[in-house]
Symmetry: C2
Subunit: 311 residues, 2 copies
């Protein structure tokens, strides 16, 4: 009997994911039947992304797991009909893409690249020698798979990196602080702050005016995590006051960011269109297939979401 | 008797270097007397940079070494009066600064950052997902201290890195090729090429039209090495033809680059004002002091220039 896999990630993703998933199932030796529509009571696994067709999980009575295609699960984890195990995506290519985005924008702000990119005006500004990385403290908020990998890549370039997480974590090469009572200490004097936290009730508006004030004057904010982690009004005030020199934002409360949103026009904000880390079909498909193999073998799932924590 | 050190690097550098050099001598336990002017026949060591006062080294009859403050020695190595040992500067902070510049600009071109920095126009271009680094071959021309360090930093970010040097070298994590007959193989299909070669008769105009043609179409050139390594006319033709998508240049045949030079106005050239790697006074002073200590102890000098090779 084949393993029934319903692809409930929406018709737009089906053309990108169908062939990689079938290839990964075959590679893993799984006899899987996959379709976009299936009788709910026959489904063994659901491959999920917001924008798909399922809103009520209760008819999926024999479903062993819901396998989310993205790292963020805030749009599904609160669904009261979801009683099945839920797994997040931790895609190695997604992690690599995120490390590249974060390292690229940290170096861009560290080196002051915008000055040169925007002002090719014939003036030889030789006095603009940036400090070296070991003189530029960076703080990463969030030490999950993405935050830890980004922190270590920056530490390898000699940036002094502080990592902060809600619950205690140790990441080699980073100064690690944890708990809400240590958040301001983690931000103290930071010249570059990167947000890579999951979105929960507790992390909403986490970077607010009081905490921004702890950062170094003229510092930089990079948010490739989730839009609502930042109090947008407080950020704009800090940008206008020079407390924050520049913000590079990849995620927003509303996406696509509306064309008339003040972030687009602000001279010290760079909007990028949620590209910091996209799940890559081939490597994500292998993670999905591995979790189905584990489910069939009675092994624990990878990247299982803790429903109480919300990620 | 004190060790006599003449600071012959020009009056502009004296205020930056005097205190760090005196501190480094003291740290190293050297009884050194340093001044900008000294009777040539009394001088034990010369701290040198172009723009200083010495053009004739022959009266410096007891001088044990000329210690250059910069990595490049092309403006002194051909001086026929120089018979004393000549040492280049290999400054750890200079190497770090170069790694940061090269990694920053490689990631900038890899991620297509300019698009976002230059076009904050309200258009949500979500389709612009860059490839990941492991799909982006990079070639480093030159595997000295700077080229090797840059290549390894890029390899740590998963870029497939080919390193090319005139004479055979092995650098862990890089595919290493050597010799003029392997130069075109090293450039074949490269999407980003970084020039970090010393300037010699053999490396002048090294990146010419024929070799540019071996790179991938739409590739990037980054030159933080020496201006004349590139045939400027061939580069502009390749930029206009789209063979090279963008060139980021930090060094030029004439510096400062004249305001009317076509590089400034070219839409696909970024000029930076020779800032990729500046010697930092504190760490450079320690290298100078260490070489004087070695000279006094009869130990071999660090970073001794091979006069025949020219670097």
């Amino acid at each position: 009997m084949p393993i029934n896999v319903q692809f409930a990630a929406g018709p737009k993703l089906w053309p990108d994911y169908e062939a990689p998933l079938r290839a990964a199932f075959a590679e893993m030796g799984l006899n899987a039947a996959m379709a976009e529509e299936m009788a709910p009571e026959t489904v063994d696994y659901i491959v999920f992304a917001p924008g798909g067709t399922i809103t009520d999980f209760s008819p999926y009575t024999r479903c062993k797991a819901v396998l989310n295609l993205w790292a963020g699960v805030e749009r599904i984890v609160t669904n009261p009909t979801l009683t099945q195990p839920l797994c997040r995506m931790v895609d190695p290519a997604l992690t690599e893409g995120m490390v590249e985005y974060v390292t690229g924008h940290v170096l861009r702000h560290h080196l002051g690249l915008d000055r040169h990119i925007l002002h090719q005006d014939g003036v030889w500004r030789h006095h603009l020698i940036p400090p070296i990385a070991r003189e530029r403290p960076v703080t990463i908020l969030g030490l999950g798979a993405l935050g830890a990998a980004c922190g270590q890549a920056l530490a390898a370039l000699n940036f002094p990196v502080t990592g902060w997480s809600r619950t205690p974590k140790e990441v080699a090469g980073l100064r690690c602080l944890s708990g809400m009572d240590r958040l301001e200490a983690a931000l103290e004097g930071a010249q570059i702050v990167v947000l890579l936290l999951p979105l929960t009730a507790e992390t909403t508006d986490l970077l607010n005016a009081r905490r921004i004030a702890r950062m170094a004057r003229g510092s930089f904010v990079i948010n490739p995590g989730r839009g609502p982690l930042i109090d947008d009004g407080a950020l704009i005030e800090a940008l206008d006051a020079g407390q924050i020199a520049h913000a590079t934002l990849d995620v927003f409360r509303t996406e696509p960011l509306p064309p008339d949103h003040p972030f687009w026009a602000h001279p010290h904000v760079t909007v990028t269109p949620h590209i910091a880390a996209d799940t890559r079909a081939a490597s994500a498909a292998r993670v999905v297939a591995e979790n189905i193999r584990r489910g069939e073998a009675g092994e624990p799932f990878l990247h299982l979401v803790d429903r109480a924590r919300g990620y």
